[in-house]
Amino acid sequence: MSNWIERVEPLTLKGQIKVPYTWSVGEVGSRFLVSLRDDQKIIGNRCSECKTVFVPPRMNCGKCFKRITDWVDLSPEGKVEAFTIVRFAYPLQPTEPPYAYALIKLDGADVGFLHIIKGDLDRLKKEVRVKAKFAGKRTGHIRDIEGFSIV
């Protein structure tokens, strides 16, 4: 029996599970994404307890367990805290490699904002300043920010 399998190409069935979902982005998330779409503006919110300015904003602070009510306008600019340059390709990527994923500390925010950086990658390093570039056609989606580019 065990030899038999070595001598043939075993059958492999191909399949795909396709399940549509709809994710409510919630009240706070909606305000954030609508602001990207309508005003090309990045907004965050501040916990009244620990004063952390979150982006994307949250309804509650996970550390303090407090409802967050204080909205903050953030700059479309910030500095790179961490990055990696992606050298491989696969179909879910938003753009052709090489491009970078970065945690960007937007001016006025306290947490890193994950997004992509396109172009000029040899100038990319920690602390470098970057600026958001908004998409022409915006739909209320995280990719209404097309990406960040080095200032």
């Binding site: 399998i5 994710w23 879910l92 938003p94 994923y101 945690l103 994950l114």
Partner: protein
């Protein structure tokens, strides 16, 4: 804590692609091996836990599909999604909760899905997933933060890969035994900076099982019980931007709790061998820091001093580790099993002399968001 022990273990060989066996067959294989190892029959198994994940298996409620193969017919069975160490933690609690024995089994066939699509799915669907981020790029981001913060180097990471693939040559179950140099790692294909192909664990198929027993039942097993001295897990923030990726606080907390439970004051002196979750080479030095074997930023130097080699004072992953075989959900359970084999003196060619106490680690979530720590001992 009441005394509980691991009394039986079983592993498949880990391979790039299992052609002849489906999940069910892999689970059956390790269940039989673990029972034979313990000298138990199905009648001796009171409770069963299976570990899997729908995304990896490509079928919904995938754990449910293997419970007969795990001997759970007519038995109490629970299913856990995530790394095997967390499922084993739950298994230990079931024994403490009154079951005499619990079989814990994990399976994974990386060859049957696309790990980039699957791991993209673990990210938040609103803000992160649409950016295409998956486990390789997220881990590379963490490696870069670690290098920037402490000046740890790519060459130090490469040394981990050289060491662990070299250790794998002594482990017949490992998938990627390799005799490579730091230069080979440095010259291998760039994946996402700073990670190269040889810094990354392979796609693997395999399964692993353990049997946990209370003291009374442990005494009836064939093999000398390996006692569970301390177990703990801890989790931190989910969004990568909310975390300091070079400071594994969840690991520190989990280690602190596990050490306290096991009565360990000086881990470097009291632990004889470590099996950790090195899905990428940079993880070994970073996790060594989190485990308190050295201070923050000293992990790279620890690698350079060869402390974690098989001949060093703290051998790490003598089995070859996750870098040499990465059956995703079974990989943590395999770390526990390697700890058991070391304590029993049954690790064969990769045996470390005189192991009394072993540490095993599992992770879950992006960039080690959660960690599960196991301290196991030869003596009660």
């Amino acid at each position: 804590m009441e005394r509980i022990a691991i009394v039986g273990v079983g592993q498949t060989k880990y391979e790039r692609r299992k052609k002849g066996e489906i999940f069910y067959d892999l689970v059956y294989e390790v269940t039989v091996k673990a029972m034979e190892d313990a000298g138990f029959t199905l009648n001796d198994i009171d409770n069963v836990i299976t570990i899997s994940n729908d995304f990896w298996d490509g079928r919904t409620i995938s754990c449910m599909a293997v419970q007969e193969a795990a001997g759970a017919h007519d038995k109490n069975v629970s299913t856990v999604e995530g790394d095997g160490t967390f499922g084993a933690f739950y298994g230990a609690m079931r024994v403490l909760g009154g079951f005499g024995t619990t079989l814990v089994v994990a399976h994974s066939k990386g060859s049957e899905g696309d790990p980039r699509f699957i791991t993209n799915g673990m990210f938040d669907p609103i803000y992160h997933r649409p950016l295409g981020i998956e486990v390789l790029s997220a881990s590379a981001l963490q490696a870069n933060v670690y290098m920037e913060k402490y000046g740890v180097t790519e060459e130090q990471f490469a040394q981990v890969s050289v060491k662990n693939h070299g250790n794998a040559r002594k482990n017949p179950l490992a998938q990627l035994p390799m005799n490579i140099t730091v230069e080979d790692v440095m010259r291998s294909r760039k994946i996402a900076d700073p990670l190269k192909l040889l810094d990354c664990s392979p796609i693997s198929d395999g399964a692993a099982a353990i049997i946990i027993a209370n003291e009374e039942r442990a005494r009836k097993a064939h093999k000398k019980p390996v006692w569970i001295k301390g177990i703990a897990h801890c989790s931190e923030a989910y969004f990568l931007g909310d975390r300091d990726l070079a400071d594994p606080i969840a690991l520190k907390e989990a280690a602190k709790k596990a050490y306290a439970m096991a009565g360990i004051r000086d881990p470097l002196k009291e632990i004889d061998v470590v099996e950790l979750y090195d899905a990428f080479s940079y993880m070994e030095p970073l996790w060594l820091e989190g485990l308190g074997f050295c201070g923050p930023g000293e992990g790279g130097r620890m690698i350079e001093k060869k402390i974690s080699t098989m001949e060093g004072s703290l051998p790490v992953n003598p089995s070859g580790g996750v870098l040499s075989a990465h059956p995703v959900l079974a990989a943590g359970l395999a770390r526990i099993i390697e700890g058991v084999l070391q304590i029993r003196g049954e690790a064969g060619e990769h045996q470390i002399d005189g192991v009394k106490t072993a540490l095993a680690q599992g992770i879950n979530g992006p960039c080690g968001q959660s960690h599960c720590i196991w301290i196991m001992g030869r003596d009660q």
